[in-house]
């Protein structure tokens, strides 16, 4: 690559680099973004996207999350009939309907929340999981409505409600309607509290903005995933506002635990056991076998 490289005109050089084929077929190997260990993808998948070398928790899709939490039998999806609309005819670089279509094509979901009724170690429960890859897991009308329908299903079944958050905040393409989803979801949680049904809130990387500042911290128990970024304002906005460097580990789950903002940090591979155990305790059921 030395003398030959020098002979090539700059344009070709650039093109060569851009089109350079990956040495590894896509999807077979995966590199941990935290420790740079090269991992066999199926190993990572069977380990729930947690790096076996450094325990870094990689993002996980909403359906994979529901799969790992719910028992295999007797699942029923809730609120799938609710679909997004373009209220404001919102257009930035892209029209909002196009943005929705692109997100749907890349995730296989039609909005950023999937809700499912089922059981966790035989304890009936309703679980909602955010799909972060769908427009940053942002909360618009559909997310809010599915959340509320999930809460209603939990009330009808006298079952607890669990939400696993992964969201950048409110969906600005829906304007004030998306802000109002904060009020809507939080208000629905008062029904669970009145009915003495537990709400467990699991905060994963990242849980920010309007999602963080509504139902996320209203859990009877609030759990964080290791290393998750959790906060109201994004670190960049804060840095620009206060004009100082943020402390090490700022807004990470471990930081929140230290500040008293969350109850515990739970490794993803132990989450199902932990949730089941907590539910059994709160609902005065026999210990989980």
């Amino acid at each position: 690559m030395s003398w030959l490289n020098k002979l090539l005109p700059p344009k070709i050089k650039r093109d060569r680099r851009a089109s350079k084929p990956s040495a590894v077929p896509e999807g077979l190997w995966s590199k941990c973004s935290a420790c740079e260990a090269v991992l066999y993808y199926t190993d990572l998948e069977s380990n729930l996207q947690v790096c076996p070398k450094c325990n870094h928790h990689h993002p996980i899709s909403a359906r994979a999350r529901l799969d790992m939490l719910l028992d295999a039998e007797g699942r029923r999806e809730i609120g799938a009939e609710v679909k997004p609309v373009d209220i404001l005819k919102f257009k930035d670089g892209k029209r909002y309907p196009d943005r929705l279509a692109a997100a749907a094509a890349s995730t296989g979901e039609d909005d950023a929340l999937v809700v499912m009724q089922g059981s966790i170690h035989n304890i009936p429960a309703v679980v909602a999981a955010f799909e972060f890859k769908f427009i940053g897991g942002s909360m618009g009308s559909v997310v809010g409505e599915r959340f509320v329908r999930g809460v209603q299903a939990a009330l009808e079944a006298r079952a607890p409600f669990i939400c696993v958050a992964a969201s950048g905040g409110a969906r600005m393409q829906e304007g004030l309607n998306s802000l109002m989803q904060m009020a809507k979801t939080s208000a629905a949680l008062t029904w669970l509290a009145d009915a003495k049904l537990p709400f467990i809130s699991v905060l994963t990387d990242p849980t920010m903005g309007g999602v963080s500042a509504s139902f996320a911290f209203l859990g009877d128990v609030v759990i964080g995933e290791p290393g998750a970024l959790i906060g109201f304002a994004g670190p960049r906005v804060i840095e620009q506002t206060v004009r100082q460097t943020l402390p090490e580990g700022f807004q990470r789950a471990e930081f929140l635990l230290e500040k008293g903002a969350i109850d515990m940090i739970v490794d993803r591979r132990e989450l199902k056991e932990e949730v089941a155990t907590l539910l059994a305790l709160l609902m005065q059921e026999p210990a989980v076998a």
């Binding site: 679909k83 009308s141 304007g175 802000l179 989803q181 911290f217």
Partner: protein
Amino acid sequence: MKPTFLDFEQPIAELENKIEELRFVQDDSVLDISEEISRLQKKSQELTRAVYAKLSPWQISQVARHPQRPYTLDYLAGLFTDFHELHGDRAFADDPAIVGGLARLNGQAVMVIGHQKGRDTKEKIYRNFGMPRPEGYRKALRLMKLAERFGLPILTFVDTPGAYPGIGAEERGQSEAIGRNLFEMPKLKVPVICTVIGEGGSGGALAIAVGDYVNMLQYSTYSVISPEGCASILWKTAERANEAAEALGITASRLKTLGLVDKVVDEPLGGAHRDHGQMMNNLKRVLQEQLKELRGKPIETLLDARFKRLMSYGRFKEDAA
């Protein structure tokens, strides 16, 4: 008070300057130019009416942030009597970006809570530009609970760029403080009337804006994100804020059409800052009327309606299952 004119008001400002000069001349002139002055004054009013008849959403957000716009404490002085400010969240501090306390509206005891901006530089800093920290929201909730215990209606005034994005605010649970208010406010067993008087900035505004009525002053704004913030995310530059303001639908009239706001309160010609007195009268009439109506209803009816309304937020389509 000499009005401060915004960029788009420059033609009005020029006219007003001319009127001012003529007045000055008239003082030591033998000629009577009062006719000329009143002619110009009329022209200025017509011009103001014309300019304000077609304000863009971005221009409206300039009016909403006008440095002379009445703030919560101005309404407290102008609308209420017997105001006694109550301080502190009983856990950490008193947040001057939110003020609250007991007062009377037409003799009726009420609890008033609102964001407070500062007028001069020193006060702006003291009030943190109206951006509350968690202790502000916790104070607000404490006062709401206090009002509930004694059966006092709650009136809130919303005027904030947003909740403060600071290190301490995060450490003390900004998210939790806002979320807690959103959880508690729907259940308050007293009438709650919320009025956006200036800037309704996102979650920091909503945290004291859940109630039976949500009013907006004619030139106030209410938005999920500031036009500048939206523009810098979507187009990587805050300079396209005018486009973002348009796209986000942040004005009172637009939000009324979308069904997110109950009542738009008229402002004086040229905005609330031009005539504080008239603004007070307009708002007082609306608040008294709403309060009277809400107090006539059983609390269960109020809470039902409040929840129904909260659950109605959002637009989506539903496929036949």
